[in-house]
Amino acid sequence: MGLAAVLVSAALALTACGSGSVGEQTKKNEAQQNAAGGKCGDLKIIVNNWVGYTADAYVLGNVAKDKLGCNVSYVELKEGGPSYQALASGDGDVILEEWSHAAELEQATAKGTAKEIDPLGVVGIIGWYVPDWLAKAHPDILDWKNLNKYADKFKTSESGDKGQFLGADPNYTQYDEAIVKNLGLNFKVVFSGGETASVAAFEKAQQKKQWLIGYFYEPQYLHAVVKLDRVKLPPYKEGCDKDKAKVACDYAETTIKKVASTKFMDSDSTAPDLVNNFKISNDEQNLIAKYITIDKMTPDAAAQKWIADNGDKVDSWLQG
């Protein structure tokens, strides 16, 4: 029992000089919430698995936490089906980067579980890319009409007697198999399986001057590190990608949408206005993504650094 008494008094002594108490912090948090003009409550940001998206999410999350006192959580999910299910079930409040899951968005809007809100400000570009050394060495490769000429050079252990075209993460919007077939290209689509794999492949191809052509997109932090060049496909025309099996044109430039849960947007929390006003550009996103991947900062630290450098931008979202 003597030991216990010693421990108790030691604990009391520690409390006396301790750094801060839970009670005080609770009061401070409450005060901050009141100052922000109302309760924020929970903000559950859905985070899909590419770095650019992580950058958006943590900037929004840190602003919501520091300025509105929201209880922010990041719901890490695959894009498409799982994310929309989260909006419907209340497990998530907002998708910040909707590239093109038309079927899911349509279904959710019809059911009234989710709706499109103001766009993110990022313009999505999907296309066929080659590493810069290749574009410099063979400038004519940047036109799809010349691709068959070089098909042999792109052969790998995976592509049999055709050239290899590196396809994307299964979750991404893509119809490269259809484009290859419909343009009569002598290529086989080999799916990289994930963003990590695609990034690693392009990095290596540029470093070691390997032949590589594949699916890539902007904004993406890799563009800040390795220069890639886009191959011209027959230009996109309204509706040419309607039937996924018959596509023979380039990918459309996409205005990246934000999609939020209807219930969340209609709630009296202070967060929906911020979420609706939140805007970011391709370059800004690439910069934050670079902090995370190249400078190895945590997403939180990267977001806070950017927020500190861009105070007026942040204020504009808050004033709306």
Binding site: L3, A4, L7, V8, A11, L14, T15, G18, S19, G20, S21, V22, Q25, T26, N29, E30, G41, N49, V51, T54, G69, N71, E76, L77, K78, E79, G80, G81, P82, Q85, A86, S89, D91, H101, A103, E104, Q107, T156, S157, E158, G160, L166, P170, N171, Y175, E177, V190, F191, S192, G193, G194, T196, A197, S198, V199, A200, A201, A245, T293, K296
Partner: protein
């Protein structure tokens, strides 16, 4: 099922000896060769026809119908109620020890309180050594900056294991007492264990949505089989003499169960619990895919950021949690046993120690509710420096071995993988199906006939025959590599104690460390290829196979080896003529386990460029309109697994 059972009925005592073996004129391998040659001949002029290929972004009517059906199942009243109940339970524990409920800045009980309680529990159920292990593990979770994720994983694992025991223990008792129950339940358990975790994820996702409910349901489904199997075996295995002796005292069935069978099987039951906990932990990462709370999430985000080191740390913490649970349950089972036998530790003294130490534990809990420092674990930069160090090492190794590794990759890809895939996947479906069926029956015997017909038929019916053949190719090549490793290292370890001491911990690590962690460096080496997927599955499957071969070879009686050596044979002869043939049973078992482990990695292969069924599953999870194709792919993997397992097992029984 019944036909297979009748065919395999054991020979009646006193009946004439079976004649098959003696009178068979043609040995089995000749038939195998014959089938292969015929296959090649027909393939040479039919290749490329009727391959029934469905490209990555295409699907058939069957897939569309399956998808509509599945989407119709989702979110009904029952599943919603289950999901809500799970959410309530998990959130309660999260608010208690992991996630603050604002405006409160910390959970109800802070880290200091949790560490104190856990340490005390460690001592209460096991020994003071275990208490130290528990304390160190919990401190490590915090020091490496993953306190909240670790607590989440702890909560999900314990809740799931609790549910798994509630469901599994009655089943275990049932199959322990009734042979008929065993024949009904065992195939279901087989299926649950053959199904790759991603496939669970997809079904559970359709039914229960995302987050904690999905994580818990997946974990339970995956963790129930070990406890049913092992505990059921323990109960059935209680010696007949003991039961007879107690029966003669006139006990009821219930008395016999609770007073004799369960206590006698206690050690085996706790082993089942142990395996259940480890199975639950092994699904942690996959659960992260649907926002399941826990350490899986940081591992997955490290994968998106191509940051090996950042994934390694939480990956190792999962391993640490596994070790902690493993040692604790083992020590607890040993203690209960020594306690029932009146072991040497004095129960009165123990009770006093437990009572007295409760006071500082209570103080720690109270203090952790009050002071911020004791509530939220102080942050530090340790993880980042460890991660950077790991990345540097990985880069150096990759640069050093790259040329050699790539020539090996090309050798396997061009020399083995491509030709084999060309035969399997470019054959017309009817040719490949007929040939596989014939091989199945020749290798597995008549017992394998029915399962082969059913499995291959259903695979064809699911419209993904071509993708399944590509997966079969990769599985065969990976298993071949696994078996080469298993023979080399297994025999070496069996014959050399020192090699065993050094290699065994590495094998344990290979078995427990989540595949997603080593996926990053393997990907950096080999790029998006089928070979990357093969290597990932070899790393996962080889340890189990090596251990099985080692144990088998070591089990060969020393007297036999002695007898052989005295006749002056070389080491090589000793291994190939005596040890390996005598250990044939273990070798077949190792091959079978190797195949199933490899198959379990197929979906993960789809993430690194292997395409085929794994890609279909992941694509189906992301795209509502392709869900049916994903389901078909998932079932195709399961059916392929059952087909391989039944053929190999039937072959083993014939040989055995």
């Amino acid at each position: 099922m019944t036909t297979a059972a009748t065919l395999a009925r054991p020979v009646e005592p006193g009946a004439a000896p079976p004649e098959g073996r003696r009178t068979r004129r043609v040995p089995r391998w000749v038939w195998v060769a014959l089938v292969c040659v015929t296959w090649l001949v027909v393939w040479s002029f039919t290749r490329g026809h009727d391959t029934v290929q469905v490209s990555g972004t295409d699907q058939t009517d069957l897939h569309r119908r399956l998808g509509d059906f599945a989407n119709g199942l989702g979110g009904n009243g029952f599943t919603r109620a289950v999901a809500d109940a799970i959410n309530v339970i998990i959130e309660f524990f999260q608010n208690l020890i992991s996630t603050p409920a604002p405006p409160r800045p910390a959970p109800q009980v802070g880290w200091l309180g949790v560490v104190a309680v856990a340490t005390w529990v460690g001592y209460a159920i096991a020994t003071w050594r275990i208490a130290v292990l528990v304390a160190v593990s919990f401190l490590a979770f915090g020091v490496f900056g993953f306190w909240q994720d670790s607590m989440d994983l702890l909560i999900v694992t314990l809740v799931s294991v609790f549910i798994a025991v509630v469901i599994g223990f009655p089943l275990a008792v049932w199959i322990g007492l009734s042979r008929r129950a065993a024949t009904v339940i065992t195939p279901v358990l087989d299926m649950l264990q053959t199904m790759p975790t991603f496939v669970y994820l997809m079904f559970v996702f359709i039914l229960f949505g995302i987050g904690a409910p999905n994580a818990v349901v997946c974990t339970v489904a995956y963790a129930v089989p070990p406890i049913v199997r092992i505990a059921g075996f323990g109960i059935r295995d209680v010696s007949a003499t003991t039961i007879e002796a107690t029966n003669s005292l006139g006990q009821t069935t219930a008395q016999r169960l609770w007073k004799v069978q369960v206590p006698m099987a206690r050690k085996t039951i706790i082993l089942g619990l142990n395996q259940t906990i480890l199975a639950a932990l092994s699904i942690a990462i996959i659960a992260g895919y649907v926002n399941g709370p826990g350490l899986g999430k940081p591992v997955l985000s490290a994968l998106t950021q191509n940051d090996f080191g950042a994934g390694l740390v939480p990956g190792l913490l999962i391993v640490l949690m596994g070790i902690m649970f493993d040692r604790t349950t083992t020590a607890a089972s040993e203690r209960t046993e020594s306690a029932t036998r009146g072991g040497h530790d004095d129960p009165r003294r123990r009770r006093i120690v437990l009572g007295v130490t409760l006071v500082p534990v209570a103080v720690a809990v109270w203090y952790s509710r009050y002071s911020l420092d004791a509530a939220n674990f102080p942050t530090n930069g340790l993880t980042r420096s460890v991660a950077n160090g790991a990345n540097d090492v990985a880069d150096a190794v990759i640069n050093a071995v790259e040329p050699l590794a790539n020539s090996f990759k090309n050798l396997v890809s061009y020399g083995l993988l491509n030709p084999l895939q060309s035969v399997l996947a470019d054959s017309p479906w009817w040719l490949a199906l007929a040939a596989l069926l014939a091989l199945g029956v020749i290798i597995g015997g008549r017992r394998a006939a029915l399962p082969s017909v059913v499995c291959l038929g259903l695979i064809f019916a699911l419209d993904l025959w071509n993708d399944t053949m590509i997966v079969l190719t990769m599985t065969l090549v990976a298993t071949l590599l696994v078996m080469v490793l298993a023979f080399v290292f297994g025999v070496w370890m069996a014959r050399n104690r020192r090699a065993d001491l050094v290699i065994r911990p590495l094998l344990d690590a290979g078995q427990t460390i989540p595949a997603f962690v080593y996926l990053i460096p393997v990907l950096a080496l080999f790029g998006s290829t089928r070979f990357t997927a093969i290597i990932a599955s070899v790393v996962y499957a080889a340890p189990a196979a090596i251990k099985l071969v080692c144990d088998g070879v070591r089990g060969v009686s020393p007297a036999v080896v002695e007898a052989c050596c005295s006749t002056g044979s070389t080491t090589w002869q000793e291994i190939t003529k005596v040890q390996l043939p005598m250990a044939r049973g273990s070798l077949v078992l190792a091959t079978n386990q190797g195949l199933l482990y490899v198959l379990a990695m197929v979906v993960i292969g789809g993430l690194v460029g292997a395409g085929a069924l794994g890609y279909d599953v992941i694509y189906g999870i992301a795209h509502i309109d392709y869900a049916g194709k994903g389901i078909a792919a998932g079932f195709s993997i399961v059916l392929l697994g059952i087909f391989i397992d039944r053929v190999v097992r039937a072959a083993a029984e014939r040989a055995g």
